[in-house]
């Protein structure tokens, strides 16, 4: 018997492919049959899919309408404003990876992927028209990385402030400030569409529903009766109706109640609807996290002389929110996909624009191609959200302590 310290790590067995197949795929008659059936099934479906993707599908509809699908009817002469915002964003991401990624392996790999992606796009036909901008994105990522490497305290603050002022800058660039003749002519929200609109609805939904949801969760546990009743009433009312009916209310009923002459922008109405809806669900998720915090934490905080606000903001919420990260990410991914419902109230988000593309006389009947592409976009961004959240969980040590 060897001493405990002498135990070697288990042998990493590398069997021959044949041996592996015999061990895992053909170890009994039943499993052999199952394996053969599965291979046949995968082959049949896969070959059909591949044949369709590479020989039958008419991807011209996507190539022709790419700008429409990504940006909606945003005027082509003003698209540089979106690229400019993206350049700033790339710079910030490069900065942040260098500063908070601690120049670790993960951050480097992640950053390399981010740099490579626009370059790859630039090489393909998809990015042909905006090669300069795509290369610029990669360059800004690298530039941000190098400038962020000192990772000093001041730099951290500057970059943190940068993250706070980027959204307003983006919105100002997007919407514009001057009449048609100026440098930044106003682009009305009726021209915002496609992936851009989907993103805006999602991000606004997440950013605003998060604080609202946290407040509602705290309110539901409050000892003040009116606050508690209000929170419960709000949560149960909103959770009791489908999102589509809230969107219909916002688009159809609200204008009838408003005094004549006053109109609220319909994109903003959709944003408000989505935010209010999401907040109710988020409140319940956060409440789950709050309930998981042992009473001892409250009592200890009390004993330390912290008041109620300090207890919540310094002790309870940080722990509770960390616990519910997986649920919140799930909710945000669901929210991202739920924004597709705005297509039903006439907004041209990515699904709405897909429907209009399908109505172009030149591309009638290409549902499969268009919806496949839209699904791919949804998958890419949902998976990206999920991946970033996993990294966040690892760095916060969720489930480890």
């Amino acid at each position: 018997m060897a001493a405990v310290t002498d135990i070697k790590p288990p042998l990493s067995e590398r069997p021959s492919p044949l041996g592996w197949a015999r061990k895992y795929l053909f170890n009994s008659l039943g499993n052999s049959l199952l394996t053969i059936f599965s291979i046949w099934l995968i082959y049949t479906v896969g070959i059909g899919l591949l044949r369709w993707v590479f020989t039958q599908a008419e991807w011209q509809v996507i190539a022709t309408n790419l700008r429409l699908i990504l940006l909606g009817q945003y005027p082509i002469a003003q698209v540089w404003r979106i690229w400019l915002s993206l350049l700033l964003l790339a710079f910030l991401i490069g900065n942040s990876l260098a500063i908070w990624g601690k120049a670790g392996k993960t951050a480097k790999r992640f950053g390399a992927g981010l740099v490579a992606f626009p370059l790859l796009l630039a090489l393909t036909a998809i990015g042909a028209e905006s090669r300069g901008w795509l290369v610029g994105l990669s360059a800004m990522l690298i530039l941000g990385w190098y400038l962020g490497r000192p990772a000093t305290r001041t730099l951290r603050r500057v970059v943190a402030v940068g993250w706070f002022i980027w959204p307003p800058i983006f919105l100002i660039l997007l919407r514009g400030t001057t009449p048609a003749e100026g440098v930044l002519p106003i682009v009305g929200t009726n021209l915002w569409g496609g992936l851009l609109l989907t993103f805006l609805l999602t991000v606004v939904g997440i950013v605003f529903s998060f604080p609202l949801g946290v407040f509602l969760a705290l309110g539901r546990r409050s000892e003040l009766r009116i606050v508690r009743w209000f929170s419960i009433g709000y949560i149960e009312l909103i959770r009791g109706v489908p999102l589509i009916s809230i969107l219909f209310m916002a688009q159809l009923m609200l204008p009838l109640f408003l005094p004549a002459g006053i109109t609220i922008d319909r994109v903003i109405r959709a944003m408000v609807g989505i935010t209010l809806f999401s907040a109710a669900y988020l409140a319940e998720n956060v409440r789950g996290g709050l309930q998981a915090i042992p009473k001892g934490q409250f009592e200890a905080a009390h004993a330390m002389g912290l008041n109620g606000l300090q207890t919540m903001s310094l002790i309870v919420l940080p722990q509770a929110l960390r616990l519910v990260i997986p649920i919140l990410v799930g909710q945000f991914i669901a929210l991202f996909k739920d924004t597709a419902l705005v297509a039903i109230v006439g907004l041209l988000d990515i699904v709405g624009i897909a429907k209009t593309v399908l109505a172009q006389p030149d591309f009638l009947g290409l549902q499969r191609e268009v919806y496949a592409f839209v699904s791919l976009l949804y998958w890419v961004f949902s998976y990206a959200m999920s991946y970033v959240a996993q990294r966040l969980e690892i760095s916060l040590g969720v489930g480890q302590r």
Binding site: L68, I76, G261, L347, A359, L364
Partner: protein, 374 residues
């Protein structure tokens, strides 16, 4: 009630002015004298109405002019009628009507903001003032003209519900469909018409309903139903994209009248007139052979007095609508006449070709007939 009486008086006075201006005979000597005094007053008083107009009269035009842009509710998903092309521009016959209206109001057909509205929200959007006019392949019907608070101005496209089946299955009449399944889009008059027609004929069938046109026709293409029904305009364009268009026939039945046209809110007759006479200007221009190409020549040298009045050389028809006198000239110069608008979206050179049929001028056996411009 009293407002209605005022407007009747107003109309009478305007009518008598028009009659007098044209030199038409007046029925009684006593009235003639009054008419003459009115004529003297017209150039002095300008467009000041002798009687106060009803509330809401002119409000829409004033709001649109103050805003500087017309907001037009359109469809974004119907090939040939309202869709967005690859450059991001709205196209289609319903969309071009909006451009014509903008040209009439502003002299600039680009001063229009298109707002895609769905079937469910279109009437609310019109009532609440979200849109100034609804031009979205909407069928003129009693309920919509009354209870829904809107007025249809004129028909821009005469459509009718048809039925498409697979050739070679021996279906030639509706009765052959007894016991079969029919694909239909839900929430439309199409669904209701189908139920009415089949009930009247005593034919039992199973409806397979779908939320939008795409899934309706996809189900038909997958042979999940024996027939598919929608307006004939839709059937024609949908048939062109089926795998083998010749394997499908459109039955020789018309199950409904579907006059499609722009709709405005109740309560502003001036706006109604403008929206209506924009359609008539398009139709008249085709009748007189005035096109966007020859409109300048026609204005310089009008072929007949009505063309001169239409283009604003004579009379002040535009002013009576509350617009400039070259309103119709602007429509024709910037958007074209009805034929040009039609051919751009539904003509023989387009994938969505629909023969003119009922949508020909009355002189060519169709139903398009514009009242005289005088």
């Amino acid at each position: 009630m009293s407002r209605k009486i005022f407007s009747v008086f107003g109309l009478l006075i305007v009518a008598s002015m028009v009659l007098a201006a044209c030199g038409g005979g007046t029925p009684a000597a006593g009235t003639e004298r009054i008419v003459e005094t009115v004529i003297v007053e017209v150039p002095v008083a300008g467009d000041a109405a002798p009687l106060p107009p009803p509330a809401g009269y002119g409000a829409t035009l004033a709001a649109v002019q103050a805003r500087g842009v017309l907001i037009c509710g359109v469809n974004s998903q119907v090939p040939g009628f309202g869709y967005i092309d690859a450059d991001g521009n709205f196209s289609g016959i319903d969309v071009d009507y909006c451009r014509a209206l903008a040209a009439a109001i502003f002299g600039d057909s680009t001063k229009v903001e298109f707002r895609p509205v769905t079937a469910a929200e279109r009437f609310t959007a019109l009532q609440s003032g979200e849109i100034d006019v609804l031009s979205r392949n909407t069928t003129w019907s009693t309920v919509r003209d009354t209870e829904l608070g809107g007025n249809f101005t004129a028909t821009t496209f005469y459509d009718g519900q048809g039925m498409m089946v697979r050739a070679g299955e021996g279906i030639t009449t509706l009765a052959d469909l007894a016991g079969g399944t029919i694909c239909v889009q839900t929430g439309t008059t199409t669904e209701l018409n189908l139920a009415d027609v089949m009930a009247a004929a005593g034919i039992a069938y199973t409806p397979a309903v779908f939320e939008d046109a795409d899934s309706t026709f996809a189900a038909y293409a997958e042979e999940r139903c024996d027939a598919v029904t929608t307006d004939k305009s839709g059937l024609v364009s949908r048939r062109t994209v089926l795998e083998d268009p010749s394997a499908h026939v459109i039955l020789d039945v018309t199950m409904s009248k579907e006059p499609l046209g722009p709709m405005v809110r109740h309560g502003d007759d001036q706006w109604f007139d403008i929206a209506q006479w924009t359609v008539f200007a398009l139709i008249s221009a085709e009748e007189f052979g005035v096109t966007s190409a020859n409109v300048d020549a026609a204005k310089a040298n009008p072929s007949n007095p009505e063309v001169a009045r239409l283009l604003g050389n004579e009379g002040d028809l535009g002013l009576k609508l509350g617009l400039s006198n070259d309103w119709a000239y602007n429509i024709i110069a910037q958007v074209g006449n009805y034929e040009e608008v039609y051919n751009r979206s539904l003509g023989p050179d387009t994938p969505t070709y629909i023969p003119r049929g009922l949508n020909s001028l009355y002189t060519e056996g169709g139903l398009l007939y514009a009242p005289p411009f005088r």
